[in-house]
């Protein structure tokens, strides 16, 4: 009788919370599907391309390109002191996209296609759940 071999994989869980924990450590991380190599940001239990459920963490460059944006004038209570503020969706290396606030760019200079970078460590962190460190997009 053979003893079963348990492979201990000390891999952080592929969760949204873990994505934000990595940000606090200064790392922008996505989950790459081990089967089809699609990068998921945020990570998730199943690959939306091939359906596989095995992922590895992948460090993603913080270089970003602006795909679209808007300037918010009417905001929920929590963000009202920031209005007007710009938000956008950026594309990172490998085609991964994330949305977020754009800071440090005059609103009349925002332009689709402009280069930005994902900045973390300087953005606000809420006191209540979820007390994740926010990221934002800033000029290069």
């Amino acid at each position: 009788m053979t003893t079963p071999t348990y492979v201990n994989t000390p891999v952080e869980p592929f969760t949204i919370e873990q994505f934000y924990k990595f940000l606090e450590q200064g790392k922008l991380m996505g989950g790459i599907c081990q089967k089809c190599k699609k990068v998921h940001l945020p990570p998730r239990p199943y690959c939306d391309k091939c359906g596989a459920d095995k992922f590895s963490w992948l460090n993603i460059s913080s270089k970003a390109k602006l795909l679209t944006y808007t300037i918010i004038n009417v905001a929920p209570q929590q963000f009202q002191n920031l209005t007007p503020y710009a938000v956008g969706i950026v594309e990172l290396a490998g085609g991964v996209r994330i949305p977020g606030m754009i800071q440090g760019v005059p609103h009349d200079q925002l332009k689709i296609g402009m280069n930005l970078q994902v900045d973390f460590g300087t953005c606000s962190q809420p006191q209540q759940w979820p007390s994740w460190q926010r990221y934002c997009f800033k000029p290069l």
Binding site: L67, I72, V74, P76, Q78, F79
Partner: protein, 399 residues
């Protein structure tokens, strides 16, 4: 690709509508949502006098987006209780602003399953007693939390980002969007149940303040109170209840990524494309055979994108379609003859079945000043959130 199990009906009815009702949309001070629903139910019952609601109705599906507005969840049972149908199986269906489109779809499941011969589907929302900041926050709950809401992205903000991308890709302009707003207000001025029954010239839209650039106040639908419902039965039982049934001949519902940022396109809704493809195939018709449509114009850009996704024009040509006047009353394919969410109002949970109510009126020649002449086939398009849900239904008159 999602495929439906019930293809190839060749336009045979799935279910028939035997009655429909809608409260006036607008401000209903002094009435709770359940009481507003009572106004819609009373009208629907009065339009179907042969129906004995207590005896005949076997199930109810009620679209309702949020318990935050009235501090009231459990809307299925609440409504059943308040319209004299205590005892009937009643379930709340939630798909954000697409809640009652999804409730309609669920009602079709119930009838087609054979379990329930007569079903009420409807929706309700009471919103106007809340501040704009509160409503903005509640509506944003339909968007992705950890990446969109968490970063201050609002609902108008999501549609504004689609508009920015559409303008950049296809040359669509703020003027195109303003024309849509003005058209829908023109239609709404003819609808005695619309929230805002007045003409709004393009210049007024263009001069209004930005909510989320490039979308202005008049690009946004209204915050309203209201309720709507329709009564469904099996096609073979319709004649027992009415001489003027309207048949639903196609139904599609689909999803896309909850976050706008993860979608393949920022200028098109895949959920609408999938849902309409399924509905068209079921009804065995092509987009050009649709005589009129109620589409989900929560923001003007959403209507323009819907033209393209529903196949009323090619991708990127929504602006041209607006300019042609084809989607105005009297045009080749009038869109939002009710005034749409823009002018009729958008009590979010009630919107999907309010679109069905308009189709019921149009296809039974009861739409009065906004009647589309010789309307035979109609389509409704209801989306949830920024388009993670879409429900499309196709209707035809009795022949």
């Amino acid at each position: 690709m999602v495929t439906e199990g019930i293809m190839g009906l060749n336009g045979k009815p799935l279910v028939s509508i035997i009655g429909a009702g809608m409260s006036k949309f607008g401000k209903h001070d002094g009435l709770l949502g359940r009481e507003i629903f009572g106004l819609a139910a009373t009208e629907a019952f009065s339009r179907c006098p042969k129906l004995d609601p207590k005896q005949d109705v076997k199930a109810m599906f009620i679209g309702h987006m949020g318990e935050s507005y009235e501090h009231q969840g459990h809307m299925g049972a609440t409504i059943a209780d308040w319209i004299g149908l205590r005892g009937v199986a009643a379930t709340r269906v939630e798909a954000a602003c697409g809640s009652s489109g999804a409730a309609l779809r669920t009602g079709i499941y119930a009838v087609l399953s054979g379990l329930s011969d007569v079903v009420i589907v409807g929706g309700v929302e009471k919103m106007t007693h809340r501040t704009t900041a509160e409503v903005t926050e509640y509506l944003a709950m339909a968007a992705d939390y950890p990446f969109e809401q968490f970063h201050g992205i609002t609902f108008p903000g999501l549609f504004a980002m689609m508009a920015t991308a559409h303008m950049n890709a296809y040359g669509t302009t703020e003027q195109h969007l303003a024309k849509i707003a003005s058209k829908n207000h023109h239609h709404g001025a003819l609808n005695p149940k619309a929230h805002m029954q007045k003409e709004v010239p393009v210049e007024t839209v263009m001069g209004s303040k930005y909510v989320a650039w490039p979308l202005k106040l008049y690009d946004c639908s209204l915050i309203s109170d209201g309720a709507s419902c329709i009564i469904l039965t099996k096609p073979e039982l319709a004649a027992k209840y009415t001489d003027q049934p309207v048949h639903i001949v196609g139904s599609g519902q689909a999803t896309d990524a909850i976050g706008l940022y993860e979608r393949d396109s920022l200028t098109s809704l895949q959920s609408t494309k999938l849902a309409s493809k399924a509905a068209y195939e079921m009804a065995n018709i092509k987009p050009e055979q649709v005589n009129l449509a109620e589409v989900h114009d929560c923001f003007t850009i959403a209507e323009l994108i819907a033209y393209e996704d529903l196949g009323f024009c090619a991708l990127g040509e929504g602006g041209k379609l607006v300019d042609s006047g084809a989607t105005s009353l009297g045009g080749a394919i009038p869109v939002n003859t009710s005034g749409g969410l823009k002018s009729k109002g958008h009590p979010v949970g009630a919107t999907g079945t309010a679109q069905a109510y308009e189709m019921y009126l149009q296809l039974t020649d009861q739409a009065d000043k906004r009647q589309v002449k010789d309307a035979k086939v109609g389509l409704t398009h209801n989306i949830g959130g920024s388009g993670a849900t879409a429900a499309v239904h196709i209707y035809r008159r009795d022949q």
